[in-house]
């Protein structure tokens, strides 16, 4: 075992009155191994009646450490109070461990249910053998197998030894949703107690004995490099032990404390090779998007033939800027390089990518790199990058000691990856009643994956299939993508391209409703009136489900009822990550600025696993989306990111936060994404409310620019 601080291995969370414990993944070889019942990588039951469920996704606030075990525990017929939870590090046991794309529930729903059902059936068999009774006379209930006719029962712990000797069934029957006892309940999150006591260990809190702290001076110009540096001033700071170049474009300062490292960096003299982007600015980027718009596009969705439709034509353009994720916990990672191995403690959404990138960077094989996943103070996609981990490993190697690399807020703002800026060209041909018979949405944006050198089959960014699908049953409907290019580093930010696509489409549709002189909800419902399947890559969007959320949101918002004086409403609906979402935003205008009072959100995400977590995700996504809509804008000047901290890149504060009401359509369909779908409709619903108030159509975000 590595020399870790004790608290990391001691149970990090015992909720008051419940038996839930969170630990880090540890190998479990040793005495008594035979008695351990572990039919799959997700579950372990020991004779002391501990039921441990392994979570192979990263917890960044979205509740996976609670929700994923609930799914397994449901099929296991476990006693929720006896569940212990373990965080998996990078492993080959769980498939792709990337936490993103609102996919944790979607992608583990089947494996977690099967894992629980497998174990349940084996425990039933073990009890039947023990009692020499037919399996059919035994049943699993709240952590025990019971034999009703004799009144006997055994705990899962008592059956673990025998169960571990049985063959693992390949074909198991899963429960029906009507029989669920855990899934669908508002169970408290397993980590709240630690978090309110300040005992939760985030990446930045993790310590290794004799660890150094490092900050890096990174080239402020995009694509620039270090040309030289002097370590004299830095080394004069008490506590600074190392100053050295890391990679091509950064100089690290390592010290005994974070403050000494920061002070060492403050006085560090670095000269930069400014590189090819030293004159880049936001105006040039906007111009390049407009230029790219004339390039040949790739088709994302095509129904009918938009070129053949006649009628009155309306068209409009919409623009969005770069945006930064800005999670509350700045970037950090702890690494301990020891020659033939390297261990990391990383707040990461991609433990496997961290492992592989670190291995490449420091010249080890991937299996010589161990990645432990810590809690994260927010992710929002920023921790899908592996830069923190690579830096920490390189510094640890350079100083031959364990080190924690910490980013400051300014580092996070200026050396980040950004939501791509984009341009949207929409046009429609209208029938005599003002409804579109044809609609074209042309999305012009640089490709995140393309910039990172990942495949973009058919010149389509591989994220677009989850995030830019059709909403309405319009007979001639085309969604097209033009891949633009930019030197500005790009990243996947909460809801990724869906925010842009929804802002443009749902603002445009609102404009069409206005042009037709029709109510915006009724106009949309007309376009969704016919039950239609709209196949779009792996998802088949259903107009009936979109209609359902729109009707629910409108009803709960009291759309048909008059508003108080000075209040105005806007609506938008959109689907992404296979979920359907509609939002009604209610505002007043104060000094020409919108004040958001109330948001009513309706979602159809299939079976709800935990309604409290669902509400958190939707409320949180709407607050995040409001900040994106109102103020989020990263600008570039002289090749540098202008914004630096929460004064010039200002998230939403309590005074600006509306009341958010959340309603879910009851459903037993397979669960779909929930971390991101509430973000995209916010901006258009707000802008549509501003139109209702002012008759001014906002065609570029942010609103308060």
């Amino acid at each position: 075992m590595s020399p870790l601080s004790r608290r990391e291995f001691v149970a990090a969370g015992v909720a008051a009155g419940a038996g839930l414990v969170i630990g880090f993944y540890l190998p479990h070889k040793g005495a008594g191994e035979k008695e351990v019942f572990s039919p799959n990588a997700y579950l372990r039951i020991t004779p002391d009646n501990k039921v441990t469920i392994v979570v192979a996704r990263s917890e960044m606030g979205q509740g996976v450490r609670t929700a994923l075990p609930m799914i397994l525990a449901e099929e296991l017929e476990a006693d929720w109070k006896q569940i212990e939870i373990e965080q998996a590090g990078a492993s080959t046991l769980y498939g792709d461990q990337t936490t993103g794309g609102s996919a944790s529930i979607r992608t583990t729903w089947d494996p977690m249910r099967k894992a629980g059902a497998q174990a349940r059936e084996m425990l039933i068999s073990a009890a039947a053998l023990t009692w020499a009774v037919p399996r059919s006379s035994c049943a699993a209930e709240t952590g025990r197998i019971k034999h009703a006719s004799s009144g006997r029962s055994l705990t899962y712990g008592e059956l673990a030894g025998k169960a571990s000797t049985l063959a693992i069934p390949t074909d198991v029957t899963l429960k029906q949703s009507k029989d669920y006892k855990i899934v669908g309940q508002r169970l408290p999150r397993v980590d709240s107690l630690d978090k309110v006591k300040g005992e939760a260990v985030f990446g930045i809190d993790f310590r290794v004995p004799q660890m150094k702290f490092a900050v890096l001076s990174r080239c402020p110009i995009i694509g620039g490099k270090v040309s030289g540096f002097s370590d004299k001033e830095s080394k004069s700071i008490s506590g600074v032990s190392y100053v050295g170049k890391i990679g091509d474009s950064a100089v690290a300062v390592a010290a005994d404390s974070v403050w000494a490292a920061m002070e060492g960096r403050r006085v560090l003299n670095v000269t930069w090779d400014e590189g090819p982007n030293k004159d880049l600015n936001t105006a040039a980027i906007t111009a390049s998007l407009k230029q790219a718009a004339s390039k040949k596009s790739s088709s994302l969705f095509a129904a009918g033939d938009v070129t053949k439709a006649g009628g009155r034509r309306i068209s409009a353009e919409y623009e969005l800027p770069f945006m930064a994720h800005a999670p509350m916990e700045p970037g950090n990672c702890t690494a301990h390089y020891q020659g033939t191995k390297c261990e990391l403690w990383a707040p990461t959404q991609v433990p496997q990518d961290c492992r592989d990138s670190v291995a490449t960077a420091i010249g080890l094989d991937p299996d010589q790199v161990k990645v432990n996943v810590t809690l994260m103070g927010g992710g929002f996609g920023r921790r899908l990058e592996h830069d923190y981990a690579v830096e920490a490993a390189l510094v640890s190697k350079a100083i031959s000691a364990p080190v924690k690399v910490i980013w400051t807020r300014e580092d996070d703002m200026r050396s980040s990856t950004y939501r791509p800026a984009s341009l949207h060209q929409l046009s429609a041909a209208l029938d005599g009643s003002g409804y579109p018979v044809a609609l074209t949405h042309r999305i012009v944006a640089p490709s995140i994956s393309g910039q990172k050198g990942q495949p973009t089959p058919g010149n389509v960014d591989p994220d677009l299939p989850d995030e830019a699908g059709p909403v309405y049953g319009i007979p001639n409907y085309s969604i097209e993508y033009v891949m633009a290019e930019t030197p500005v580093p790009l990243g996947w930010m909460r809801s990724v391209y869906a925010l842009q696509a929804a802002f443009a489409l749902e603002s445009f549709i609102d404009g069409l409703a206005v042009a037709a002189g029709k109510d915006p909800v009724q106009y949309r419902l007309h376009l969704l009136a016919k039950d239609q399947d709209l196949p779009y890559f792996a998802t088949t969007w259903k107009t009936a489900r979109m209609r359902g959320v729109l009707q629910l949101a409108a009803e709960k918002a009291g759309w048909d009822k008059p508003l108080a004086g000075g209040r105005h409403r806007g609506v938008a609906c959109f689907g992404c990550f296979a979920s359907y979402m509609a939002e009604v935003v209610e505002i007043s205008m104060e000094n020409d600025q919108p004040r958001v009072h109330r948001v009513v959100a309706a979602v159809d995400c299939g079976q709800v696993v935990n309604p409290s977590i669902l509400e958190q995700q939707i409320q949180g996504g709407i607050v995040y989306g409001l900040a994106n809509a109102l103020r989020a804008k990263i600008t570039i000047d002289k090749g540098r990111v202008v914004q630096g901290n929460f004064d010039d890149y200002a998230p939403l504060r309590m005074s600006e936060t509306p009341s958010v009401e959340v309603y879910a359509v009851p459903s037993q369909e397979t669960p779909t994404g929930i971390g991101e779908p509430s973000v995209p409709p916010v901006a258009p619903a707000l802008c549509n409310a501003i139109y209702a108030a002012t008759k001014k159509r906002i065609r570029a975000l942010p609103i308060l620019s």
């Binding site: 107690l193 309110v196 404390s257 509350m328 916990e329 929002f380 009072h597 929460f646 939403l652 005074s655």
Partner: protein
Amino acid sequence: MADITLRVNGSEKKVSVSPETPLLWVLRDTLEMTGTKFGCGAGLCGACTVHVEGSPIRSCSTPVSQIAGKNVTTIEGLSANGLHILQQAWIAEEVPQCGYCQTGQIMSAAALLAKTPNPTDDEITKAMNGNLCRCGTYERIRKAIHRAAGQAPSNGGAR
């Protein structure tokens, strides 16, 4: 370097650090009390909020030399026995998502309740507006403060 004596959560702590070191880093690095968080380093987000002589301050922007001899309360010492009523309310209302900012939020709320036991919505907003939360937990924070204060929200949420 200077030898500085603080009283942290009722215990005397002697530290040897450069006097301009922000209190935040003395708490986190020197005293290994990591419940107080680093968010912005500029007094803009409130994640580093602690009490000095009972008043909330931003420890990221407060040199430790200014705190010499003073009483500091951190999240670790907010409640000597068991959970503070606000911590209980935070759990009951299921406030935390990522949880990173919540200790700072609770410290700001505790300072509010100490002076204003039954705050109005406007008083809550004023006291809490310096604390950022990127997960967007503000609505539940408001509910938790009302719960702890033993009163229902006066108008159902934010204005």
